[in-house]
């Protein structure tokens, strides 16, 4: 009887125990929106530096890093109090950044200077600057930590950086305006979105050669509006989720067949994506419609869209 009672209690409280929180940067409001992932309720909004964009948690999730692009810095926030406790020397106009699996190094692209800055999170100093192509944008790091890649929008290249030497080892030419990159879970493939070409390229990590390409087409939507940006690989299967910008859709892609399984209608100019910790939900930031959309990953259905503030851009989930 007591077991049943405990089970019932657990069931009753399970939603609150395992509820996740979303931390969303609001590019225009210079603020951070905190949203309950399950209910989609906006919990609070906290002021940040100017034009906040990229956002990520530290490895132990005690700190939150936010790129304040117009302040030329990465702000460090205490993840509990959401108070700014420090800054990182990011270089000019930081946008997207990623933290190495070792938890110590942070790689950020500086679009105007054509460099990638490597920051030591322990000493809070810039270790080095790596010269890359024109207008560096996306950063991806393989899960085994062996590769850091950076995409340069104007050079149309993927630069392969060896994190041991902090230098470029190889380059791969891709379709025009590469924006974001994502490694497959087994680290054997890299996926890159190209905004102008409206395509997704699959690159073999061993040979650095393109092994597959997919051009997105949405019925009733102008080709020019299909601008793939954020890309996310599901850790447990072969599914890839690609944000299609002003096409207001998220494409669900079979990464092996390089085929679109579904186009999901979300808000306007969908940009970045993140999974809930239990992988049941996918969240999207929709810049122009000022909201986020919640997608049920099992059903591949959009369940809710919630207003969070002006120009939601980056998203981190805890």
């Amino acid at each position: 009887m007591s077991k049943v009672y405990i089970a019932l209690l657990l069931a009753a409280f399970s939603t609150s125990i395992f509820a996740d929180k979303l931390y969303i940067t609001l590019e225009k409001d210079n603020a951070l929106a905190v949203v309950d992932g399950e209910t989609g309720k906006l919990l609070k909004t906290v002021p940040l530096g100017q034009r906040p964009r990229g956002i990520a948690f530290s490895k132990d999730q005690s700190m939150l890093y936010v790129a304040a692009s117009d302040d030329d810095t990465i702000q460090i926030l205490d993840a509990e109090t959401l108070k700014v406790v420090g800054e990182l020397p990011s270089g000019e106009d930081p946008e997207l950044f990623k933290i190495h699996p070792n938890g110590r190094l942070l790689y950020v692209s500086n679009e105007d200077d054509n460099i990638v800055t490597v920051i030591d999170l322990q000493t809070k100093t810039a270790l080095t600057e790596i010269a890359v192509g024109v207008e560096p944008e996306g950063i991806a790091i393989s899960r085994d930590g062996k590769w850091v890649v950076n995409t340069s929008e104007t050079t149309n290249m993927v630069h392969w950086i060896d994190p041991l030497e902090q230098s470029i080892k190889d380059n791969t030419l891709v379709d025009p305006r590469p924006r974001a990159a994502e490694f497959s879970v087994d680290n054997k493939q890299l996926f890159v979105t190209s905004e102008i070409a409206g395509s997704l390229s699959r690159i073999d990590v061993a040979t650095k050669q393109i092994t597959g390409k997919l051009h997105f087409k949405v019925a009733g939507v102008d080709k020019e509006l299909i601008q793939p940006v954020g890309v996310l690989a599901h850790p447990n299967n072969k599914l890839l989720f690609v944000a299609l910008g002003p096409a207001n859709r998220v494409a669900v892609v079979d990464s092996q067949a390089m085929k679109v399984l579904e186009y999901l209608l979300v808000g306007q100019r969908v940009w970045n994506l993140a999974f809930s910790p239990d992988l049941t939900r996918l969240y999207t930031t929709n810049g122009v419609s000022n909201d986020i959309s919640i997608i049920d990953v099992d059903d591949l259905k959009v369940t809710k869209s919630i207003r969070v503030g002006h120009y939601p851009w980056g998203i981190a989930v805890k």
């Binding site: 019925a219 009733g220 939507v221 207001n248 209608l265 979300v266 808000g267 306007q268 419609s289 959309s293 919640i294 259905k301 959009v302 369940t303 809710k304 869209s305």
Partner: protein, 269 residues
Amino acid sequence: MKLAHASIALKGIIKRELWRFLKQRERFVAALVRPLVWLFVFAAGFRSTLGIAIIPPYETYILYEVYIAAGLIGMIQLFNGMQSSLSMVYDREMGSMKTLLVSPLPRWFLLMGKLLAGTSVSILQAYVFLVVAWFYDIEAPWLGYVTLFPALVLAGLMLGALGMLLSSFIKQLENFAGVMNFVIFPMFFMSTALYPLWKIKESSELLHTLASYNPFSQAVELIRFALYGQFNLHAFVYTLAAFVVFMAVAVWGYNPSKGMMVKKGGGPS
């Protein structure tokens, strides 16, 4: 009115309506084809039209076919109500209406029986439509298919009563085309069945006002909310009030000594 007597009469009316319905399978198919053509052909051209604003009961962006589905269920019930009114005009011309109305049971009860029979048919059609729509990716939450039922009953009764009211005013079967042009089409197009109110307001303030007061709009909204497991109190009260008014006028219209039957020469001779 004895209960046994009333139930025999009600059974007879519904049986006749169902028998008629079963005999006219093409009527059922036609009633289903009409909304499906709208769904597959008309809505296909406007797929992304509504992907801009989120309006209750929807919680996210929807494609046009999802929006129009509730309106097309309303269309099924609207046309069914009119179909019933057409058959009542026919019944009157054939004389079977007189047979029904001279029965010792209250007139409102007889007319209500006819209304219930017609509504049952329209509910069946609506659910068959939803099954087809489900394969076209128009899915409501499971609870919505249950909460939809009472909404369909009320909306069906209201639209059926409207049809009954109209039939009491129609002198001959040939005049029914006028009803189509002056009642059904304006009612359907000046409603929230095809476009939400905010969209109508963008084009015309007058059209927006007419659509807001259109009882068909309220019936469609009642259906739309119920399909997503929600209750729209305003739409419910409006639809209920419209039903009571239409029914009262229809009962009066079918009074052989006072109503429209006299004016049409259908009263006691």
